[in-house]
Symmetry: C2
Subunit: 216 residues, 2 copies
């Protein structure tokens, strides 16, 4: 699988910026964002304050207020930092294989380790700035994943005019739905089955071409 | 469409209990749950306190504490009350028609009127009791929707061994994903397309039988 170790698809559980340029400003940002992530995972959004983050990061509170203004700004920067990596979708040689590997990454992000992904999604219901940043993050991730669909098209596995986004969302949404909204127990076979269902639906042209007219 | 007016699928935007038995206890419950819904929609979870609900309902606070104990208990009872209706999934005569009508209801619940559904989902990230109650609510709703799948099977639209839950989640999850997590703008055609995609995938046997073996 062509993904770097310790990086996950949606969103990065352990954000690993591609490069961390030196300099005091970059070091402070890294310290502060590490503190935001740790505070969020350990105490949740309710105890995520600029003061708590500054104390945890060992940075003067006015530095944090000047650069990030408020909690929403801190959350948005955590998400923007998570997108600043070189993550690429898995390249296994088949559409079903790629989607399955993607969903395994999503499953890992949502069910293991510190629950940063879930905490960020929960925070996005309470901070418009975090919600916007999360939207940008997903947009970037789904954009990168379109490579999976174009490879499948080139290999002739799916029809040429397959709608990449429609297919990618069909493959991943049921997993998020089950784990985050329906709160079913972690279930890796479910993650894999969802991916295979989308791949086989795509192979027969389900996501290709314009939508048919509306029934009923 | 065979659904009662003012009732929506997931969860009821305007909960309409099938019957509201008389008596002081039932009246108090109705007043208190109305107050919880109004407070949640107007001020969010942060200002949802037992005291605020009691004041709003015009009920003595000790009455609320005795019966519901805390905010989690109030939220759970709102969700349990929402499930206590006679909602049935649409019966339009075709699988694509039924799923499309269902998704139109979901779209309405998530995008119009007071955002009670979204507020309850947001609250479920913060209260274990609300999360459990929301899980029971979904389970009940998806259970009722299995009738859509068995009718389609009887009509010969889809293979006999179609997994009802897998199909229903494939039809609805992309809509929740787009509106709640990706935060795309309200999009009724998207809701309808998602339903049709699942119906056409089901017709060719995508959700029938045991999963195929895992690739990659």
């Amino acid at each position: 699988m062509a993904t770097p170790p310790r990086s996950t698809a949606f969103p990065a559980e352990q954000p690993q910026p591609a490069r961390r340029p030196g300099g005091r400003s970059a070091r402070i940002r890294a310290q502060v964002l590490d503190a935001v992530r740790a505070q969020l995972v350990e105490h949740g959004y309710d105890e995520l304050t600029v003061d708590a983050v500054a104390a945890r990061a060992g940075v003067h509170r006015t530095t944090v207020y000047r650069r990030w203004r408020e909690v929403g700004g801190l959350l948005a920067d955590v998400l923007d930092a998570a997108a600043d990596d070189d993550w690429q979708p898995p390249d296994t040689g088949s559409l079903a294989g790629d989607l399955t590997a993607m969903n395994r990454e999503v499953h890992t992000a949502l069910t293991t380790g510190p629950p940063l992904t879930t905490a960020l999604i929960a925070a996005s219901f309470r901070s418009a700035e975090a919600a916007d940043a999360l939207g940008r993050f997903w947009e970037d991730r789904y954009g990168r994943c379109e490579a999976v669909v174009s490879r499948a098209t080139r290999r002739g596995e799916i029809p040429e005019h397959t709608d990449a986004r429609r297919l990618l969302i069909a493959a991943t949404a049921p997993l998020f739905h089950q784990l985050l909204l329906l709160r079913t127990a972690p279930d890796l076979p479910l993650a894999e089955q969802t991916a295979r269902d989308a791949a086989s639906a795509a192979a027969v042209g389900t996501y290709a071409g314009p939508p048919t007219s509306s029934p009923g």
